[in-house]
C-alpha cells in the first residue's frame, strides 16, 4: 500500500512553479492529465470446434506525458460450457516514458478462473511497450509468479490503411516459458503462438466494428504435452467484434 501511494505521488507531482509568475497569479501553461479506456478487442469468437466465446482485451491509462497508471486486462468466457470466466491477465502498472516512442511499465498482475473456489495466480510484471520503427505497435512483458516461474509474452499489431476509415490489422502474440511449472502445468520453451487478422471499419474514430480470423498453435513441449493428453494443439476461429475507446 505504501508503495502504491508513492507511485501515485510520482504520477501527480505538486504543480511545480516554473518560477515566472507572482505567487497569486495562475501559471500561463500547466501540465495536462487525462486518460483513455481502449477495448482493442471486444469480440465473439467461434472456433472450428463450434465453441462460442466472448473475448475482451482492454487497456486503460491515466496520467500525464511521462508518468502513467496503466491497467490491462484480457480474458474470455466460453459460452454454454458451465465453466467460469477465464481471466488471462489483469495487470496494474506504473508506466514511464523513457524515449519518444517507448515506455517501461512495472506492476502486479493476477490471472485464473473467476470462480469462488479457484485461487488466482499472482505475479509481478515488467513491460516494454511502444511503437517500433515501421509502425509496429508492441507490448513485451516479463512475468514472475509467486513460485518463481518466469514467462515472456510479446504482442505485436500492425495496421494497413485501406481507406481513411478502414483497416486490415494483423496481430501476433507469442508466449514462452523460461521455467517449467508443475502447479500451473507449463512447459519450458516457446509455448504458444496466436495469429489474427481483422478487417475493421470505423463508424467513428471511437467505435469501429470488425470481423476477423485467428489461428492458435501450441508449440514445443507444450504441444507435446497436449498431444499426450489427447487434446487439440491448434485451433482456428472467426471473430466478430468492435474496437471501442472513450
Amino acid at each position: 500500500m505504501k508503495n502504491f501511494l508513492l507511485l501515485l505521488g510520482g504520477l501527480f507531482p505538486l504543480i511545480a512553479s516554473a518560477g515566472h509568475a507572482k505567487d497569486d497569479w495562475p501559471e500561463p501553461v500547466s501540465d495536462h492529465y487525462t486518460g483513455r479506456v481502449l477495448f482493442d478487442r471486444l469480440e465473439i469468437a467461434r472456433t472450428n470446434q463450434h465453441e462460442q466465446s466472448a473475448v475482451w482485451d482492454m487497456m486503460a491509462w491515466y496520467g500525464g506525458d511521462y508518468h502513467r497508471l496503466v491497467f490491462k486486462t484480457e480474458g474470455e468466457n466460453v459460452q454454454n460450457d458451465g465453466a467460469p470466466t477465464d481471466i488471462e491477465k489483469a495487470e496494474l502498472l506504473y508506466g514511464y516514458l523513457v524515449s519518444p516512442f517507448w515506455s517501461i511499465q512495472a506492476g502486479v498482475g493476477a490471472r485464473g478462473e473467476l470462480s469462488s473456489d479457484s485461487s488466482f495466480e499472482h505475479y509481478a510484471v515488467l513491460s516494454f511497450s511502444g511503437l517500433a520503427p515501421y509502425w509496429f505497435e508492441m507490448d513485451n512483458s516479463l512475468m514472475v509468479n509467486e513460485e518463481g516461474d518466469i514467462q515472456l509474452r510479446s504482442e505485436t499489431e500492425y495496421e494497413w490503411r485501406l481507406s481513411q476509415t478502414a483497416y486490415l490489422q494483423p496481430r501476433v502474440e507469442i508466449t514462452a516459458n523460461v521455467t517449467d511449472s508443475e502447479k500451473y502445468r507449463r512447459e519450458s520453451g516457446l509455448s504458444n503462438l496466436r495469429v489474427g487478422l481483422r478487417y475493421r471499419q470505423e463508424i467513428s474514430r471511437e467505435f469501429a466494428p470488425y470481423i476477423g480470423v485467428y489461428w492458435n498453435q501450441a508449440l514445443g513441449n507444450t504441444a507435446d504435452r497436449l498431444q499426450r493428453e489427447g487434446r487439440q494443439t491448434h485451433e482456428t476461429g472467426i471473430v466478430v467484434g468492435a474496437r471501442v475507446w472513450f
Partner: protein, 577 residues
C-alpha cells in the same frame, strides 16, 4: 467535409440574398465587416474609450447554432480602430464564469498591459473589469485575442487597426478580413483527442492503395526507399495540420462560404485588404483568381511593395495587400487551409449578391526529404519539388547569416519530448511552402519581404541564442529544446538594451508560427532594411535567424501560436532586465 458546397445549395443561397435577407445576415456576423468598407479620410470610428464585454452566447455560425465567446455580442469581436500617437483606453469586462484576458497581438506596450495571465498580470476574474491604458506608438493591421486556456478557439478575438498619424491608408478603400477556424466541439475535447489518439482529425493519411499507385508510378525500389525512411522515423508525410476540416468550419469575418462575406469596390479603385489569420490551428493559402495582389505590409509593418498572386498566411500573421479590380464583376477571395481539408471564400464585388466561381481544393500535398532535414541528400522523385530549385539556387544565392551558424543539438537528442532531430537544418525562406512549390503563378516567400524603411536600432548583434522547436506527436508533447514550459527552471534571459540574434531550429515535421510578445523580430532574409515580424512561421527542418533589440523591460510570453501546441507546453517566458 464541412466546407463542401453542393451546387443546388449555392443556388439557393444566391437567390435568397435579397436585401431583406442581407439584413438578417448582418445580425449574425460582426457589423464592422460591412460590405462598404472604409474610405480614405473617413472619420475614425473609434470612440475615445472602448468598452468590451466578454460573454458566452448562442450565435448562428455557418449553418448551425454554436456557443462562442462573444465580444460585445459578436464573434469575432468588434474592429477596434486606434490612432498612432494617441493613448489607448480599452476597458474589458468579464461576463464569463471563468477568468479571461485580452492580449493585443503585435502591439508595443508596457509589460503589465500585454494581457497574458501569469506573465503580465493575473488575468480578469469573472465580473471584473480591467482597464488597459497605453500609448499607441505604431500603425498598421493587428489583432487581439484571449490568452486564457483555449478561449481563442471559441472566437474570443477581433481585429485591431491602427491608423497612421495622417490617416492615409494608401488606397481608395479598405476591407479588414479575419480568418478563423470554428469547431462545434468543446476545445477541451479537441485537445484531449489530440493527446490520446494521434491523427484523430487527419483524414488524408496514406493508404495501401497510395502505396500501390506510387509503385506503379515510380517503381518498387523508390517507393520502398521512401516508405522505409518515413516508417523508420515513425512519421507521416501527410501529417500537415493537427486539427482539420473534419471538425473545423473555416470562417471569413465570422461567415462561412455559404454566407459568403462580401466586400464592395468600384471598378478601378485601389482596395486595401487587411488580412489577419486569427485561427487557432490553420494556415491558409490566400488568392483572388483574376487579380494580382501587392503586399504592402507584413504583420502590420510596412514592406516595399511585392506583387504576387497567392500568399500563405501562418496562424497569427497579418498581411496587407492592395488590389485594383478594373472590371465590374465579382472576384472570389479564396482561403484554402494548407492541408487542403477545407476552405472559406468571400467575394469582392461591385454590387451585393454577385459571386464568382469557387476554385477546386488542390490535391493533398506530401512532405518530402526537406522536411526531414535531408535536403542535401540526393533523393529523386520526392514530392516536395522545391528541392531541385533549392539546389540550383544555392550556388548563386548570397549566404544568409544563418547559413554560417552551426546548429548544436543537446547530447543524444532532446529527450522523450522530441521524436526527431533535423540532421541538417537549412534556410528555407525562399520556399513558398508545402503544396505551393509547383504552382504556375507567383507565391509570396519570406525572402521577398524588404522593410519599407530603416528601423531605429542598426547595431550588429552581440549575442546569439539558439532554440529548437521540438515535439512528440504520439503523446502530443510540444516544447522548446525538448522541455515543456512546466519542465524549465526559469525564463529565457535577455539583457536589457542588448541587441541579440535569435536562431530558431525546427526539429519537427510541422510548421510552427512562433510569436514573441513586446518586441519586434527582424527577419535576416538577406535584405536591408529587414522585414519586422511579430510572428514567424518556421518550416520543418528549417533554421531561421532574427535580430531583436531587447528594449522592453519585463516578462514577455514567447510561444508557438498553434493554440494546442502552446497549451501542450510550447511556451516560454522571456525576461528582459
Amino acid at each position: 467535409m464541412n466546407n463542401s458546397i453542393d451546387p443546388s445549395r449555392r443556388q439557393f443561397v444566391k437567390s435568397a440574398l435579397t436585401a431583406a435577407s442581407a439584413l438578417a445576415l448582418a445580425k449574425v456576423a460582426p457589423v464592422w465587416a460591412s460590405p462598404q468598407g472604409r474610405h480614405f479620410k473617413d472619420s475614425v470610428l473609434a470612440t475615445d474609450e472602448v468598452n468590451l464585454t466578454i460573454a458566452r452566447k448562442p450565435l448562428l455560425i455557418g449553418q448551425k447554432v454554436g456557443r462562442p465567446i462573444t465580444i460585445n455580442g459578436q464573434m469575432p469581436g468588434p474592429l477596434i480602430r486606434l490612432r498612432e500617437g494617441q493613448p489607448a483606453k480599452l476597458n474589458v469586462t468579464n461576463k464569463l464564469m471563468e477568468d479571461t484576458s485580452v492580449h493585443w497581438h503585435g502591439i508595443i506596450l508596457p509589460e503589465n498591459m500585454d494581457g497574458v495571465p501569469g506573465v503580465s498580470y493575473e488575468g480578469i476574474k469573472p465580473g471584473r473589469t480591467f482597464k488597459y491604458r497605453y500609448d499607441v506608438q505604431q500603425s498598421g493591421t493587428y489583432w487581439y485575442h484571449s490568452h486564457s486556456g483555449l478561449q481563442e478557439q471559441l472566437g474570443h478575438l477581433g481585429p485591431l487597426i491602427i491608423d497612421s498619424k495622417d490617416g492615409d491608408i494608401g488606397a481608395d478603400r479598405e476591407h479588414t478580413v479575419i480568418l478563423t477556424d470554428w469547431t462545434f466541439s468543446d476545445p477541451n475535447d479537441v485537445f484531449r483527442k489530440l493527446k490520446v489518439a494521434e491523427g484523430y482529425y487527419n483524414y488524408h493519411k496514406r493508404t495501401l492503395f497510395d502505396t500501390f499507385d506510387d509503385i506503379r508510378q515510380q517503381g518498387l525500389e523508390k517507393t520502398w526507399q521512401e516508405r522505409e525512411m518515413w516508417g523508420r522515423m515513425r512519421m507521416s508525410p501527410r501529417d500537415i495540420a493537427d486539427v482539420t476540416g473534419s471538425t473545423y468550419t473555416y470562417l471569413m469575418n465570422g461567415r462561412d462560404s455559404r454566407m459568403n462575406w462580401s466586400g464592395l469596390f468600384k471598378p478601378g479603385e485601389k482596395v486595401r485588404l487587411r488580412i489577419i489569420n486569427g485561427s487557432a490551428m490553420s494556415f491558409f493559402d490566400v488568392r483572388i483568381p483574376g487579380l494580382e495582389m501587392t503586399v504592402v505590409a507584413a504583420d502590420g509593418q510596412p514592406v516595399q511593395p511585392v506583387t504576387i498572386d497567392e500568399f500563405r498566411i501562418g496562424v497569427a500573421e497579418a498581411y496587407d495587400v492592395i488590389v485594383q479590380p478594373r472590371e465590374s464583376k465579382a472576384y472570389t477571395l479564396f482561403a484554402e487551409s494548407f492541408d487542403r481539408s477545407g476552405f472559406v471564400r468571400g467575394t469582392l464585388t461591385p454590387e451585393l449578391g454577385l459571386e464568382a466561381p469557387i476554385p477546386e481544393l488542390r490535391p493533398v500535398p506530401e512532405r518530402g526529404m526537406a522536411a526531414m532535414g535531408m535536403a542535401n541528400m540526393k533523393m529523386e522523385g520526392m514530392t516536395e519539388g522545391s528541392m531541385s530549385s533549392m539546389k540550383s539556387d544555392m550556388s548563386t544565392k548570397q549566404p544568409l547569416p544563418v547559413d554560417n551558424i552551426q546548429i548544436d543539438h543537446a547530447n543524444g537528442g532532446h529527450g522523450p519530448g522530441a521524436a526527431m532531430i533535423a540532421k541538417n537544418p537549412v534556410s528555407r525562406l525562399d520556399e513558398p511552402g508545402l503544396g505551393l512549390e509547383n504552382v504556375d503563378h507567383r507565391v509570396l516567400v519570406y525572402s521577398d519581404l524588404k522593410g519599407a524603411h530603416e528601423w531605429p536600432d542598426t547595431r550588429e548583434p552581440e549575442r546569439t541564442i539558439q532554440l529548437h522547436l521540438t515535439g512528440n506527436m504520439e503523446r502530443y508533447m510540444w516544447s522548446f529544446d525538448g522541455k515543456k514550459f512546466t519542465e524549465v527552471d526559469g525564463p529565457i534571459q535577455f539583457n536589457e538594451g542588448e541587441r541579440l540574434r535569435l536562431v530558431l531550429v525546427n526539429d519537427t515535421m510541422m510548421d510552427h508560427p512562433i510569436h514573441l510578445h513586446g518586441m519586434w523580430m527582424e527577419l535576416e532574409n538577406g535584405h536591408y532594411p529587414r522585414p519586422r515580424k511579430h510572428t514567424i512561421s518556421v518550416k520543418p527542418s528549417e533554421k531561421v535567424s532574427l535580430l531583436i533589440s531587447a528594449d522592453a523591460h519585463g516578462s514577455w510570453a514567447f510561444h508557438c501560436h498553434l493554440l494546442y501546441h502552446m497549451k501542450a507546453g510550447m511556451f516560454r517566458v522571456v525576461n528582459v532586465s
